[in-house]
Amino acid sequence: MDEIKQKVRDYLVENFLFGDTEATLEDDQSLIDSGVIDSTGVLELITFLETEFGIAVEDDEVLPENLDSINNIAAYIERKKKE
């Protein structure tokens, strides 16, 4: 789980925060409400998760509870890998 969180964190910092590792990015922070990603960012994130973790994000899984924080994303990937 920690390794997944770190990969997701690294991806977000690199692609949405211009590599600014000093920027605040808490594990439980809402990525959308805090302005880190917008709707096109969600599409980008989905592509990353599918490529990096070999999962298929189904249409009905595109929900904040699966994608809207580092914690939520990591838990979602764990569940998907067990399927």
Partner: protein, 322 residues
């Protein structure tokens, strides 16, 4: 008094008088223009803007343009012509299809569509939609491409990012080309350009930056869609325009504004939004709108996200001299 639909009501006569006075002041005294040009589509927003412009400047100082292209609904230009006749203004039709072809609009868009649906060709229709109805589930705003074969068979797939961006970027040539044509006519006449977006569109970012967002005055950009309809009735906009569902009239397949962007009927969205602005408790908004508090919260979250991300579209160029 409890929050209700009445809170969305305006005094259309008073609002009209105020807008007319301000339009005259800005166009005449501040910008020193002799009249206005606007694009009319047969939709309620541009129709209201036309009526306001005629009241402000007189029909001899207003020019109305229809700016169709090959994907446009032919009904738009028909309704636009009728309206121009009703208000006795000069009416010019400028077909922007050749300009768009020159930009490669249709080719660039179709290239992206074909990457998603290899069977797609120009005999198909296509549109972009958002997932379902926001009141039913809290899905995030990701985009789906629907194609319709000449035989009427529909297929829908979630759009990958690259294809979504390319389709939208190619389609945005339409609004930007319209802006260029409006400014051609405005500048040759020394007129200003009237933008016709309403508050729902302007604040939530349902416009193309420097496309339909490019104008000199935007007389209804502070009015909820619901309020625009109230003005439309007062200003004698024909019933056939007032009863037409708001469309995007951008994609080759018919697409309502609700399915492409807003995800809820504007009659509900406007009330929920106004309640949010006035800090009305969620339960009271729910009662007024006839929906559940959970649905109110879902809609408000979606509106807040759109308001935030519309900042980019509304921003003027940023200078770094301070």
């Amino acid at each position: 008094m409890a929050f209700s639909r009445k809170d969305l009501e305006i005094d259309p006569a008073q609002v009209t008088d105020q807008l007319v006075a301000r339009m005259r002041k800005v166009i005449g005294q501040r910008f020193h223009k002799r009249g206005v040009v606007l694009g009319i589509s047969g939709g309620v927003d541009s129709s209201v803007c036309l009526a306001l412009s005629v009241r402000a400047f007189g029909p001899r100082h207003v020019v109305a343009l229809a700016l169709p292209e090959s994907d446009s609904d032919p009904e738009s230009a028909v309704l636009a012509r009728k309206l121009a006749r009703q208000f006795d203004v000069e009416f010019i039709v400028e077909d922007i299809t050749p300009a768009l072809a020159g930009f490669g609009t249709y080719r660039r868009r179709d290239e992206a569509i074909k990457r998603v649906f290899p069977e797609y060709d120009p005999t198909y229709k296509a549109k972009i939609v958002l997932p379902g109805n926001l009141m039913e589930k809290e899905t995030l705003n990701v985009f789906y491409l629907t194609i319709i074969s000449p035989e009427g068979e529909e297929k829908t797939k979630r759009l990958p990012l690259r294809e979504y961006l390319q389709i939208v970027a190619a389609s945005n040539f339409k609004q930007r080309s319209r802006m260029a044509m409006l400014y051609y006519h405005a500048e040759r006449l020394n007129y200003g350009v009237v933008g016709t977006g309403n508050k729902d569109e302007h604040e939530q970012g349902f416009f193309v930056k420097w496309g339909d967002g490019g104008a000199d005055i935007k007389p209804i950009a502070h009015l909820f869609k619901t309020q625009v309809y109230q003005l439309a009735e007062y200003l004698d906009i024909p019933e056939e325009i007032r009863s037409r569902p708001p469309t995007t009239d951008t994609y080759s397949a018919e697409s309502t504004q609700e399915e492409f962007f807003f995800r809820v009927p504007f009659e509900v969205g406007d009330l929920v939004w106004l309640g949010m602005e006035k800090n009305v408790p969620v339960e009271e908004i729910a009662a007024a709108a006839g929906i559940t508090p959970e649905q109110v919260e879902r809609i408000q979250k979606d509106i807040k996200r759109k308001l935030r991300f519309a900042e980019y579209l509304k921003a003027s160029p940023v200078h770094f001299d301070d």
